[in-house]
Amino acid sequence: MSSLPFAGIHVLDFTWYAVGPVTTKYLADYGADVVRIESAARPDGLRNAPPWKDAEPGINNSQFFASFNTSKRGLALDMSKPRARELFLKMLPWADVVTESFTPKTLRNWGLDYESMRAVKPDLIMLSTCMQGQTGPHRDYPGFGNLMAALSGFYHISGYSEAEPCPPYGAYTDFIAPRFSVCALIAALDHRRRTGKGQYIDMAQYEASLHHLAPMLVDYFATGRVLGPVGNRSDRYAPHGAYRCADEDGHERWIAIAVADDAEWKSLIAVMGNPADDARFATTIGRFRNRASLDEYVGSLVRDRNADELTVALQAGGVSAYPVQNCMDLHRDENLEAFGFWQWLDHKEMGPSPYEGLEHRMSRTPGGPQRPAPTLGQHSDEVLSEILGLTAAAIEELKREKVVY
């Protein structure tokens, strides 16, 4: 195939922050023409969030924004102005897909709900993604993926004990929902290809994210058991946890280890140089019965070892293990390197900066970042002249009136 799978697919993208932009990034990285429509008055909040190039704040300097918006074009409109909404409606016939991630009332207030857009573009596919969905008593709940991670149960099951919660990092559910929403979008595009019908996709981050907790919910409904945090304890592996290794240049290093059976345990002990083996741990029953002291024992065995070298030795012995990588380690990780994960793209204002690549690789239609993220309004002129045939003078006037930026 000479071009990417979504070449020729046009997306008008109102989404902001994470879930929507990461969703449309998949389409853009595989060839769709995704036009990010940003309000100049209220630009994407990630533009105001670090990390910034050279740690310098600036609307076009955020890597946080850049990483989620590769391969897209940027159009800046002031959607609070009627003329901007007229421009949008004129562009609509060009689009195959419209996406948005505001709270439900925003687009309705602009007179741009699905029904009114469908009157202009009958086979339109539209994705609305918000916290709790377009219907129901809590539909207008605003928030971010960190709050949703609390509301959908991830915080409750995170910690050493119920009294000592330790939430997962960041806006966790923001990074669950996109894989569901992009599957829905691609399948909807395929369905439209087969049937000629568009559709409306009402995506609640809440409802997608609960799929990552399905066993806990099945259990509760079937038996009434309420899962709480169990630290790193497993009923399947012992030992199972993170154990501190030797520090490196003053930085703490840990290794994650999971031992499934006696053979793996024997391997681990052999890698440790066959210390005077503690008979308590020789059998599965012994290891599970004495989990707390087992953790201490393994901790004492690995405390002076180098985490990387120990990983190689344990894996050679068939034991599941890897260093607990920090964000700096990830940039030196040989396996991410071998996968070609990190990519440096030359952004218009930031210059070369570090982007994450895809977490998969395709043999025949390899995708990936096609170009760096747009600056605010970087392609306003280009998009308006290309899609609407506006002259330079007309665009200038729209800019004077602060409709276009």
Binding site: L151, P165, M216, Y220, N232, W254, C327
Partner: protein, 419 residues
Amino acid sequence: MRSELLNGVRMLDLTDEKGALCGKMFADMGAEVIKIEPPQGCPSRKIPPFLDDQPGLDNSLHFLAFQAGKRSVTLNLESADGRELLQELVKRSDFIVEAFPIGYLESIGLGYETLAELNPRIVHTSITPFGDKGPAKDYKAADIVSWASGGAMFMMGEEGKPPLQMSVPQAWLHAGAEAAVSSMIAHYARQLDGLGQHIVVNAQACGVWTLMNEQAMPLLHGDYLRRSGVFSGAIGGRRKTVYQCMDGHVSFIIAGGPYFNSTKAVIAWMNEENAAPEWLKGEGGLKTLTPSGFMAATAADLKELDDTEEAVQRFFLTKTKKELWENILKRRLFGAPLANAADIAADPQLKAREYFVTVDHAGLGRQFTLPGAFAKMSETPVGPQGAAPQLGEHDHEVYGGLLGLSNTEIIALRAAGVI
């Protein structure tokens, strides 16, 4: 009723836990997903915890949750008959997804090249812990090990204590969902030119994609984030994210930027109830907090935020989880209770949207309630298509119906340990 979205599409699911969610998402979208298990059963049937704490091939909660709506056939790939049956299935399928060690399928003569000769349309998705090229390509990775490799674990937990995983392991779910996405992209490409391809999913890289953009901090700002319990150091700040209340915990954040209005509103609420300390009373409240930018910039700002957090913590201790949630909704605060399974099951929002779906498990003679549609699609509703299958439940249907084997042949294959 089967969703129309992917109706007519067939996926062969040879994964264990490492890819369970991929086939589940396809089944929810209406694809026919045939789970191919070794005759003794997929290892994921043995993942604890179990229903009623009773181990048994049908009782793993992981299996009940993530195999729902699939069909199950048994197949011994170590036998020549088994390999031939798989080839026949591949000829009649659109997708094959697996998570074997790198090179295993080639070693039994069923690598992608062979499968593509049998069926050039096939999309073959391989789920791996570390990709297929680096020094760790043959490594084993239990979920916690994959979680550690992608960077999320290091940042979760208390300083000085071990890094943590969540109590429902997450790493392989991200990889499974990524397998679904990439398979769908390849599916779309195939509809255009009729050709399939081979995909390699890298679970470690999936882990990195849960880190927001923290992974760029060391390169751009010069340091990496340490874990700090309930304090979030995400993207440059250090804010308290979990507050105690009378009967549990809530998540709440005092900050500027998008949290500015919410921060103002909680102070206003404290003032209404005469619960604000003297310096937070009256107009203005917080003096240095700015509506732009996530994070306050100066030391004075940070001191003020710390002091506000303390005041809010004292206030929340006088409230129940329920009261706080009602006020979060009413006052449009950026907060949320730390909900547990019981709270989620009773949530009026999920009820209003008829989210949870109950399916019948004939073999166990029980009903199970599952997370429902991951999205509401107006033309092609999606959602659970049924309960998890029993081992080999669909042997006859698939080998007899789809491949046209006679009853005698099926009995012979069973006797020979092939199925």
